[in-house]
Subunit: 274 residues, 2 copies
């Protein structure tokens, strides 16, 4: 998917919501556990219920891998389902990979050729040659970690170098040599508030993938005030507060309600800041 | 496995070799492709052939994931085989994971409870709460990226902060608050040569996992001169130069020869520097 196509979807749906599929077998409704593939059945129901209100899905690899081979099977089926039924949804494999060149090439093969996702999250610590192997296919994206939503983001990402440039700023600056805004996005946590201004000074045109609204406590209003650009430039992710909004038989309907609530807020934000 | 047990194995075998199982279906001998699970058959033969000469195995997750569900199955079978037949081998899942707390918990479950490896490689970019969930089980290890073997290590890891501390040094220093040398190792690339001295100033007692000898061009002599401590403190990994030393029917015997050659060199190094 191109950046322009993504922006078209955002305008059409008046939403920049990404639904995080952090599907934990321990948290899904009991009645699904009797089905052959409970994780897939849960995801399918969540996707069908939320698709009108979002433009992207982000399966979190950890939750599938923790179920071993069966988890991988559920993941492959989930992505195939979204691809087939909702081909305009942007699919982000949240994997936070990154390794030496030949290994990153293998990961790129996994997430783009096997899983057929549009994008993969990548950690920048190992530098250029760990990231560029993910950038060889047109319309396939890297979502690079820049300033994450967790407390540990303070440990290294905020460290300033001798020129006063903080590590997340260096990552933003340097990585622009690797790809344009048509193939690169950045993870910036919703909990970072006013720091979005600093991010936008370096990457005015890039899309940002923003986790941390909802369960982690970030403010959508603040993210939009400091982070929105003229093509929206934001994909705001919500996982737990949507998919586990209700844990009974009614889970999908309640998930749809939560997604719809966020869509209404996002529509307001688009009217206000776009 | 404890640090002491690992050191005992090193002394017994006079080797600190880790064999990297970067098993690529495109590179394994043709006659194996007729078997039901070629990747597993290849690994089994490599493990049987090299076990006398090494103390650790390091499957690289990328290579298995790129085969999707089937790849995960091959990986699970490989680790189970090593566990059962060679219980004193240390198994490192080379996965380079790291995410917010609840996600890292899921990854820990994957690599320790499902896969039953001893250790997992973790990227430090997201800080303390992305790493500590891997440290909750005794005798289960984190191998944290510090100074990697690739060219991209220059992009961020060498950046000095306002106190002159380089990022890899800060990672080494700060992460010692998260776990002791009994549960934490660090990745330091063999290509970093004399920088091992700087690493040892900060982490004199920790084991270092050292990739980059062989295909990537690092020198074993240099690694040992600057990196070995009184409990050896090194696991030197070699992948491609062992497992793909011969790509015909004789591959396992030739892999054993290559591993044995490295073991002889390592024995010399232990005599010289331990």
């Amino acid at each position: 998917m191109t950046k322009q196509q993504l922006f078209e979807q955002i305008k059409e749906k008046q939403s920049f919501l990404c639904v995080g599929l952090d599907t934990d077998i321990k948290k899904i409704p009991g009645h699904l556990l009797e089905t052959e593939d409970p994780i897939y059945e849960f995801n399918k129901a969540i996707v069908d219920a939320t698709a009108p209100y979002c433009v992207a899905y982000k399966p979190n690899l950890a939750f599938y891998e923790s179920e071993g081979t069966e988890g991988w099977m559920s993941l492959e089926k989930t992505v195939a389902y979204i691809r087939q039924r909702y081909p305009k949804q942007f699919i982000i494999a949240d994997a936070k990979r990154g390794d030496i060149g030949n290994t990153s090439e293998m990961y790129a093969r996994t997430f783009f050729d096997v899983l057929k996702s549009d994008a993969v999250t990548v950690a920048p610590y190992m530098g250029a040659d760990s990231v560029t192997p993910f950038l060889t296919q047109p319309e396939r994206w890297v979502v690079l970690l820049a300033l994450t939503s967790n407390k540990g983001s303070l440990d290294f990402q905020m460290t300033a170098d001798t020129n006063g440039e903080r590590l997340f700023e260096k990552v933003l600056r340097v990585s622009q040599q690797w790809a344009s805004a048509d193939q690169m996005m950045y993870v910036v946590g919703a909990t970072q508030g006013k720091l979005f201004e600093d991010v936008r000074k370096i990457v005015p045109d890039h899309f940002l993938l923003v986790p941390g609204v909802g369960a982690q406590g970030g403010s959508l209003e603040e993210v939009c005030r400091y982070g929105m650009n003229k093509e929206c430039g934001l994909l705001v992710n919500s996982s737990r507060s949507i998919i586990y909004a209700d844990q009974g038989e009614d889970f999908a309907r309640v998930a749809a309600q939560e997604a719809a609530k966020l869509q209404v807020e996002m529509k307001e934000m688009l009217n206000k800041y776009l």
